[in-house]
Amino acid sequence: MQPEASARPVVPHAEHFGDEASRQNAAHLGMWIFLATEVLLFAALFAPYALYRLAYPELFHQAREHMDLTLGTINTYVLVSSSVLVALAVASIRKGRELVASALLVGAVVLGITFLCIKGMEYAHHAKDKALPGAHYAFHQFAVPGASLYFTLYWIMTGVHAVHVTVGVGVLSVLCGQTLSGKFSAAYHTPLELGGMYWHLVDIVWLFLWPLLYLS
């Protein structure tokens, strides 16, 4: 705890903290720990990916040809850009530029939705080819041992990621609305920082998914 001279916590529900510096520390630490849990969640999917890749090397090699590299790469640019916008938004609010921050957040939300739409297009393509997960797999052009497994992995990994993107879009939208209504300022914008951290994590996870599923 900081010495008594520090400021009181700036939000009413944080009286138990004693001072503002502790409050901010705690908020950030809590978010980092939560992000660690998300990393472990995805690790539980990357581990089967690694295992099945070791078991079916040929399959994973060939499967790449059936992925839509163009759409996947566009999505990567979309998501990274949205992360940049979010970072800029946090920087803006720190300088007290609320309107700029809101605009940047709107941009990030739009890009997030774009990501989901492009993903939806990809899913539609795969569904048309009947490259569906598990029992529903009927993709004739790609019928090597274990092929259904590759696509099952693809659908689950990108699907779980897409769920997180959706949640992130929701969070950013709410934060955007709150910024517009003046809830945040240079003195207090912790939820924005935390929401930004979440979005960056979602982006980083995609930066692992993209090479593993599309490039290698």
């Binding site: 705890m1 004693g18 705690a26 939560f34 849990t37 029992a135 689950i156």
Partner: protein, 545 residues
């Protein structure tokens, strides 16, 4: 017993009567109230799991069908496991006592995220409700371990049970996030990292495990749910999948999970040993390093559940050695607790009887764990009653004893009243004997070759099963007595005063029951915890309220 000689009095305003009405409880941010609500719910879940246990033991009185069909038996042991592990043991000490005591023990007003704490409670309620709904639909019959392919194929109500556990997992994660942040950012002046009370270290270590392991469980459960719902085929050899992958992912969580179940109990024991021998810990550093050591090395041992599943021999050897390493930490703790008693002033009270039971039974439970970590010996013991006895020695003989010890040690702190001490000691002894009578025969059953999860069994196993059931009824009887006198004491127990145990733990410096804000003035603790050697410190006597 206050030194002033006057009769102890109940403080006028405290956290229980600061606000009144059901709504004030349901929307509270007060960690103490949240801890109490958790405690009540946990005890209800323990009752449910215990009813299943008694039903199982009655069924096992005869080799054939006694009181239920084979399908009912398979559901019963599954639900006994699910309820006891996820709805009782894993949340037990952290969510009830951790919540109540953590801020008190570091001199804080509340946990770091009080609203998140309330959310944890509601997620637990939601998860328990979903699981109960699954139970009402008959419940799963897969075993609490949900091994594939059976769990993806069976027609019983597996989905609601999986979903319930998934939701409770979120409760666990949020509690973990809360506690870690609290310990890092909200300690009062004087409570440096080397002066953190041992219970707080235990909760901290537990929270690390909770936060890192539970997400993996969440993902695995989702994969099994998707396989049931949509034929995903991750673990299905007919689609190129690997059933062993499920076991790896499941045990990667579930082995650390057992350390979630024991570490908080060890923290309780550390506190109670120091308080009731009035001694500093024989080695504070060893206890802390062991706690953190168990938390981390515990993640490296999951393969010892899979020695006979046809996985790599070399892997088995590695996991065996790592399991031995993690056992050393427990051995160190036992020696340290014993050493703490040397030259102390030992006061035999109900909590201390539970402490003694804990140490004794943890020793045998831990040694049986070392035994099954020996790869060749595990070939015989795996999936037999020997393993069942091993984990019940730890989970009931140790963890549950610690829970009961915590309940009796901090009962005066939470409610400001005492329970009848003689009855407490007598029941503790009854429970310890009942426990040994229940589970010692199970070690022998395992030696004989009795496999787990058998609704019917070959006749030669019957005598030991009858002995075990007899012990179980003693256990159940003991729990009943505890429930009765504790509920009675809530209203009619003798007023405790601030510090009836003369403890120098930080939580005893505030009133019993504490005020809503925990301390009347911001506290500072210039002396180390568990210090009974310094003459100039007498928190047992305390300031005027």
């Amino acid at each position: 017993m206050s030194q002033s000689g006057a009769e102890p009095v109940m403080p006028e305003r405290h956290y229980l009567n600061a606000e009144r009405g059901l709504w004030s409880w349901l929307t509270t941010h007060d960690h103490k109230r949240i801890g109490l609500m958790f405690l009540g719910l946990l005890l209800l879940m323990f009752l449910l799991g215990g009813v299943y246990a008694l039903a199982l033991r009655i069924e096992l009185l005869t080799p054939g069908e006694t009181i239920m069909s084979r399908l009912a038996y398979n559901r019963s042991f599954t639900l006994h496991g699910v309820v006891m592990v996820w709805l009782f043991l894993i949340p037990s000490i952290p969510s009830a006592f951790g919540n109540f005591l953590l801020p008190l023990m570091i001199g804080a007003k509340d946990v770091a995220f009080p609203r998140l704490n309330l959310a944890s409670l509601y997620l637990y309620v939601l998860g328990a409700a979903i699981t109960l709904w699954g139970i009402l639909q008959g419940g799963a019959d897969t075993g609490w371990t949900f091994y594939t392919p059976y769990s993806t194929a069976t027609g019983t109500a597996v989905l609601p049970v999986l979903l319930g556990v998934f939701v409770v997992g979120f409760s666990t994660i949020l509690t973990g996030v809360n506690f870690i942040t609290t310990v890092h950012t909200m300690r009062a002046p004087g409570v440096t990292w080397t002066k953190i009370p041992l219970f707080v270290w235990a909760i901290y270590g537990t929270s690390i495990i909770q936060v890192l392991a539970t997400p993996v469980l969440g993902m695995v459960l989702v994969l099994v749910m998707l396989e049931r719902l949509g034929g995903l085929g991750f673990f299905d050899p007919a689609r190129g999948g690997d059933p062993l992958l499920y076991q790896h992912l499941f045990w990667f969580y579930s082995h650390p999970a057992v350390y979630i179940m024991i570490l908080p109990g060890m923290g309780v024991i550390s506190e109670a040993v120091c308080a009731f021998t009035r001694k500093n810990p024989f080695s504070y550093r060893v206890l802390v390093v062991s706690t953190v050591g168990i938390a981390f090395v515990g993640f490296l041992t999951w393969g010892h559940h899979m020695f006979v599943s046809g996985a790599s021999t070399l892997g088995a050897g590695a996991f065996s050695v790592l399991s031995m390493l993690v056992a050393i930490f427990t051995a160190l703790k036992i020696f340290t607790w014993l050493g703490t008693m040397y030259r102390g002033s030992i006061w035999i009270t109900t909590p201390f009887v539970y402490v003694l039971g804990f140490i004794f039974l943890l020793f045998f439970g831990g040694m049986s764990g070392v035994a099954v970590a020996v790869t060749s010996a595990d070939i015989h013991w795996h999936d037999t009653y020997f393993v069942v006895a091993h984990f019940h020695f730890i989970m009931v003989g140790a963890s549950l004893m610690a829970f009961l010890g915590a309940l009796h040690y901090w009962f005066p702190k939470m409610f400001g009243r005492r329970y009848p001490e003689a009855l407490g000691i007598g029941t503790a002894v009854l429970i310890i004997f009942g426990f040994i009578a229940t589970f010692l025969p199970q070690f022998l059953l395992g030696n004989m070759g009795m496999p787990r999860r058998y609704a019917d069994y070959p006749e030669r196993f019957q005598p030991l099963h009858v002995a075990s059931t007899a012990g179980a009824s003693l256990l159940g009887f003991g729990f009943l007595i505890i429930a009765i006198y504790l509920i009675w004491s809530l209203r009619h127990g003798r007023v405790a005063g601030r510090n009836p145990w003369e403890s120098r733990g930080y939580e005893w410096t505030s009133e019993s029951p504490p005020p809503k804000s925990n301390f009347h003035e911001p506290p500072s603790f210039p002396y180390p915890p568990h210090d009974y050697a310094r003459p100039d410190v007498a928190p047992e006597v305390g300031r005027a309220a």
